[in-house]
Amino acid sequence: MRKLTATLATLTLAGLGALVPAASVQAAPTANCDDNYEEAKSGYMYAYRLSYCESYLGSSKEWDENWGNSSRSFQGDDDNRATSIVNKTGKYVAFYRLKDYKGGHICIASGKKYVSSLKSDDVFSNGETADNRISSHKKLASDTCSKFMD
C-alpha cells in the first residue's frame, strides 16, 4: 500500500538518523499531501494538477456535474486535468470520466485521506485510466462504488 510504504520509508530513515546527517534526510514525496490534508477544510474535496498534491486545481464541498463549464467549483480547463486528490469530506466521492456523471466512475473512499498520484492501475469502471480524465464528481453513500482509487 502506497501510504504505509511511505510510512515504512520514513521510519527507516528515522532509524538511520544517528548514522546520517539530518540534512540528507529528505521528506517523503507524500508529505505535501499529508500537509494539504491536515490543513484542508472539513467537508471538502481538493484536486491537484500534478502528483503529490501539487498545483492546486480546485476544491468542492458539494458536487460538480461538469468540470469544464463555467459553474460550480471546477471550471474551464480544470476538465481532464486532475492527477492527485485530497478527500476531507468524510464521504465516498465518485469521479466520472465524462460530464453529468457519465462514462465510467472511480471512487475515493471516505477514510482515504488522499491519492498522491493517479496511476495506470487507477482506472474508471469502463476501463479508461483516470489520470487527467476526470470530468465530474459527486459524493455517494458509503457502499455505492465498484471501483476505488488505489
Binding site: M1, T7, E39, Y96
Partner: protein, 306 residues
C-alpha cells in the same frame, strides 16, 4: 456501518447501472431492515439500533476530543426515516405517501450542516492541523483492507474517532476490516442476480405497470436519475409533491398485487447471498458479533448520557 441487505442491494444496483454506462443517483425507499442475517447465528443491527451505536460513537469521540482541548458535536446522525431512503425499490405505501423518496429529509439534513465542520474550518491553519490530528491521528497512521473484488480501502488508525470505535467495537482494526469488506460484498453476487430471469421478468412487469400510470421508466434507478434532474430547480414543496406521486406509483407497482418486484428482489438477494458469499461467512459473522457487542455497550453509554 452495515446497512440492511436491501440497502446493499440498492447500492449494488447503482454499481451495475453505472458500470453499464448509465448513471444513477442515490436510491431511496424504506429499507425494510429487519435485522436479517444471511449467514450464521447472528444478525445485523436494525436501523434504530444503528442510530444508538452511532450516537454512542459520537459521545465517545466527544469525550476524547474534550480531553485534547477541542469541542465536538455528536452528529449529524441520520434518523431511521433517513436510512429508509436506500433500497432498490419502494413498497411501503404509508411511508412513501408521507416522505416520497425522502428528499425533504435529505434536504433538511443538508441545511442543518455539520457543526464540527463549521467549528474546525474556522480555525487558523495550525489549529486546524491540531484538530485533524486529534480526531484522525497522524496522516501516515492508517489501516487498510483489500476489497473482495480488488482495490484497497484505507482509514485512520489513530485519533479520537478510531479510539472511540475501538472502545465500542472492542478492536478498531478488526472492525474496520470486517465492516469494510461486508459493505463491499454486493459486486460478488449482484451481476448474476440482475440477469436472473425472475428478476428480469419482475422488473419488466414493474416497468409496464409504471407506464400504464403515465410514468415511463425502465427501472427504479432510471426513475431516480430522472427525478433528481427534474426536481433540481423546484421549490421544496413542489419537489416533495412530485416525489410523493412517483414514489406512490413505484410502491404500488412493486407490490404483490402488481409486479412483486420488491419481494422478488429481497428473495433473490437472500438466495444469491447464501449461494455466493460462503467464503465470507466468517467475516460476516464477525461483523455481526462485533455489532451486537457494540450495541450492548452503546445502550449503556447513551443511557448514561441521556
Amino acid at each position: 456501518m452495515r446497512r440492511a441487505f436491501a440497502t446493499r442491494f440498492a447500492a449494488a444496483v447503482i454499481i451495475t447501472a453505472t458500470a453499464a454506462g448509465c448513471t444513477a443517483s442515490a436510491t431511496t425507499g424504506p429499507s425494510g431492515n429487519s435485522g436479517s442475517s444471511s449467514t450464521g447465528q447472528g444478525r445485523d443491527l436494525t436501523d434504530a439500533e444503528q442510530v444508538v451505536v452511532e450516537r454512542a460513537e459520537g459521545l465517545l469521540t466527544k469525550k476524547c476530543m474534550a480531553s485534547r482541548g477541542f469541542s465536538y458535536w455528536v452528529g449529524p446522525i441520520a434518523s431511521v426515516d433517513e436510512r429508509k431512503t436506500a433500497v432498490y425499490v419502494l413498497d411501503d405505501l404509508a411511508w412513501v405517501r408521507k416522505h416520497g423518496y425522502g428528499g425533504r429529509l435529505v434536504r433538511a439534513a443538508e441545511r442543518a450542516g455539520n457543526p464540527n465542520f463549521a467549528y474546525s474550518n474556522a480555525f487558523p491553519r495550525e489549529d486546524r492541523v491540531r484538530y485533524t490530528r486529534a480526531l484522525e491521528g497522524m496522516p501516515s497512521d492508517t489501516v487498510s483492507v483489500e476489497l473482495p473484488r480488488g482495490g484497497t480501502v484505507e482509514g485512520p488508525a489513530g485519533g479520537c474517532r478510531a479510539e472511540a470505535q475501538g472502545e465500542l467495537y472492542g478492536d478498531h482494526e478488526t472492525w474496520f476490516r470486517v465492516s469494510t469488506i461486508t459493505e463491499n460484498l454486493a459486486p460478488l453476487f449482484l451481476p448474476d442476480l440482475m440477469k436472473d430471469k425472475r428478476f428480469v421478468h419482475a422488473l419488466a412487469s414493474w416497468s409496464s405497470c409504471m407506464r400504464k400510470k403515465g410514468h415511463d421508466y425502465r427501472s427504479p434507478e432510471h426513475l431516480r436519475l430522472e427525478l433528481a434532474r427534474s426536481t433540481d430547480a423546484m421549490s421544496d414543496g413542489k419537489a416533495h409533491a412530485v416525489e410523493v406521486e412517483l414514489a406512490t406509483a413505484e410502491a404500488v407497482c412493486a407490490g404483490e398485487d402488481a409486479s412483486g418486484l420488491a419481494a422478488t428482489a429481497r428473495d433473490l438477494e437472500h438466495e444469491y447471498r447464501a449461494k455466493k458469499l460462503g467464503p465470507y461467512a466468517d467475516t460476516i459473522a464477525t461483523h455481526q458479533r462485533l455489532s451486537l457487542a457494540a450495541l450492548a455497550r452503546a445502550e449503556d453509554i447513551t443511557g448514561a448520557a441521556s
